[in-house]
Amino acid sequence: MAVITYREALNQAMSEEMDRDERVFIMGEEVAQYHGAYKVTQGMLERFGPKRVIDTPISETGFSGIGIGAAMMGLRPIVEFMTWSFSYVAFDQIINNAANMRYMSGGLINVPIVFRGAANGGVNVGATHSHTPENFYANAPGLKVICPATAYDAKGLMKAAIRDNDPVCVLENTILYNDKGEVPEEDYTIPLGKADIKRPGKDITIVAHGRAVITALQAAEELKAEHGIEAELIDLRSIRPLDEETILESVKKTNRVLLVEENKPFCGVDAQIAFIIQDKAFDHLDAPIGRVSAIDAPQIYSMPLEKIQLPNTDRIKRAALKIL
């Protein structure tokens, strides 16, 4: 298997889907001539031309809406946000138009669109640029939301997202773009809504998504080395649809669960997951559900402090030991 970066995996997914399907095109700020602010669209303009790889002005409301309108007509746009922090100026288009269109039209219209870009803290860009809105978007019925953590997942999920007939938000991570992983040469997709057990274990279940998966994996190894604890790590991969079954199966096996996310805690994704676990596996729990998320404040700029604000291996280990 080829070893490629998360960035290349996304690029391959989009390029292969554009090869397969004439209706797929990408637009966003700096995606064409500049090859993307984070170089995810490297070489795509040269390969597909300016009709299908389109630079936009800094008009997120406008080009998201144009994408939705085009999707209503049967095209399959990929709309890149330079980062998801900038999707907030397009929030209305995504929620009121993309998410609601099918419902409001009584199923007459569907919106096969992908919104994608990076959504992460950890790079010292301060409060306005560090948003992780998976909870906001997953809160809207009609939208699907995925957060790949590895190159393999990024490619398979992105391809599935492009082929999906509903609007899908793909939340990537600038810190992961250079991470390498094995990715098969042949065509594959990963169904949205299928979690992945990144590390099997028996003592405690850790549930994470996005880069928190990578941090939690490290913490799990340290728990093993330092305390002989075998943590099972579930990577959600997809926030909505959510793979409840994999989570509940694991909880029934380990009887303890720790939820880890880089988002802020209140009304976060893990709040819903905690509800589901107590609702459907209450009798299997031997301890309260543990939780690690970003410290509940706007994202701080100062470099050493942002490290403290985001979930790190120390905080994850401490939280795990508390419920073991």
């Binding site: 500049y34 002005p57 907030y88 404040a297 050493p304 402090l305």
Partner: protein
């Protein structure tokens, strides 16, 4: 002020303000300048340049995180516009904010320390390069989301009018930011409600790697004002006197009529969009070199002052050395300053948690803590 219209004015539309060269020279904001004041303006531009060059070095040494957008090449716009303000006037900008901050009297230490993420920074290390603030110096930020500051600028103007002052708000934005919806809503509201705000487009010709032609329909950008029945002007931004004259005229007009206006200044940035932009694909090295050679705002002003015998080679050298030393001292200050303590993460979020004696609500505000 009523619109100055002379026979030689190249005015093209009833909405456009045009000043002749003579009017620029004779503008009261320029005529009244003493030699000392001219030197001060020159020094301020030089201080901004040297501050930023020092910041670039620190960034390259890994002392500064995240995004850092330099203002090098554009100094005459901040210094020209902000040096004609009256006490009650206010300013707000985007993320390329070091120039405006320093021009409004922020000191290099607090500015550099902010870049270093230190507790002694203007925003206590919480905001970083894109989020400078100094309200007591009338600087309302430093805003990271493109265009997001434009309704705020109109809001500041709303407050100035509401409070019955004669103040005007200068609201800066880039040539790319003019394509944000928020800006257009702000323009309409400002015109409709007659808010004393001047939108200043710093047209450095690129929004990141996208040239103006590739991002904006219609030209000049400021002319979009006409759709809202607003006055506008476009002028070279590298000539300090021109910037001051246009800003002075605009301020008079806005103060008098309480109507908003758009000013567009052509300018140029020498470095990449931010420190993370390698700047190798969308413009040529020659283009940059050519601009530096022919139009650098600091060199240009120096040569004028030298001709006027206001600036000597010796004084120029002294100013430069002092600016460099000040920037280098600021870097030392930033280096030696402490990072904020971890508890600071949880401060400055709500007024009432910072002022527990004046608590106004009940219930839980925070859902985890540093010690979890």
């Amino acid at each position: 002020m009523t619109r100055k219209k002379t026979d030689s004015s190249p005015e093209t539309s009833e909405y456009q303000l045009c000043l002749t060269e003579k009017q620029v020279v004779e503008a009261k904001v320029n005529k009244k300048l003493t030699s000392e004041e001219k030197i001060d303006l020159y020094r301020l531009m030089m201080r901004i340049r040297r501050f930023e060059e020092r910041a670039v070095q620190s960034y390259q040494r890994g002392k500064i995180g995240g995004f850092c957008h330099t203002y090098i090449g554009q100094e005459s716009v901040a210094v020209g516009t902000l040096s004609v303000l009256k006490k009650e006037d206010q300013a707000i900008s985007a993320y390329r904010d070091h120039g405006q901050g320093l021009a409004l009297g922020m000191n290099m230490n607090e500015c550099m320390a902010e870049l270093y993420g230190k507790w002694t920074g203007c925003s206590k290390g919480k905001g970083g390069s894109m989020h400078y603030f100094a309200p007591e110096k009338r600087f309302w930020g430093g805003h990271g989301i493109v265009g997001a500051q434009t309704p705020l600028g109109a809001g500041i103007a709303f407050a100035l009018k509401y409070q019955g002052t004669q103040g005007v708000c200068l609201c800066y934005l880039g040539d790319g930011a003019v394509n944000q919806g928020a800006y257009h809503e702000a323009l309409n509201l400002a015109a409709l409600w007659e808010l004393p705000v001047i939108f200043i487009i710093e047209n450095n010709q690129y929004s990141m790697g996208t040239s103006q032609e590739r991002s904006s329909a219609g030209n000049p950008l400021a002319k979009r004002a006409e759709g809202y029945g607003m006055r506008w002007a476009k002028a070279p931004g590298n000539d300090l006197a021109t910037v001051r004259a246009y800003t002075g005229a605009a301020l008079d007009y806005v103060r008098e009529t309480s109507r908003p206006m758009i000013l567009e200044f052509d300018t140029y940035r020498y470095r990449g969009h931010s420190m993370s932009d390698p700047d190798q694909t969308y413009r040529s090295k020659e283009e940059i070199a050519e601009y530096k050679k022919s139009s650098d705002p600091i060199d240009h002003y120096a040569s004028i002052l030298e001709k006027e015998k206001v600036l000597t080679a010796e004084l120029k050298d002294t100013i430069d050395k002092e600016a460099k030393a000040e920037a280098s001292d600021a870097a030392d200050y930033a280096e030696e300053s402490p990072f904020p303590p971890p508890e600071d993460i949880m401060k400055d979020i709500y007024w009432e948690t910072d002022n527990p004696d004046h608590k106004t609500s009940e219930g839980t505000l925070f859902f985890n803590s540093l010690n979890d």
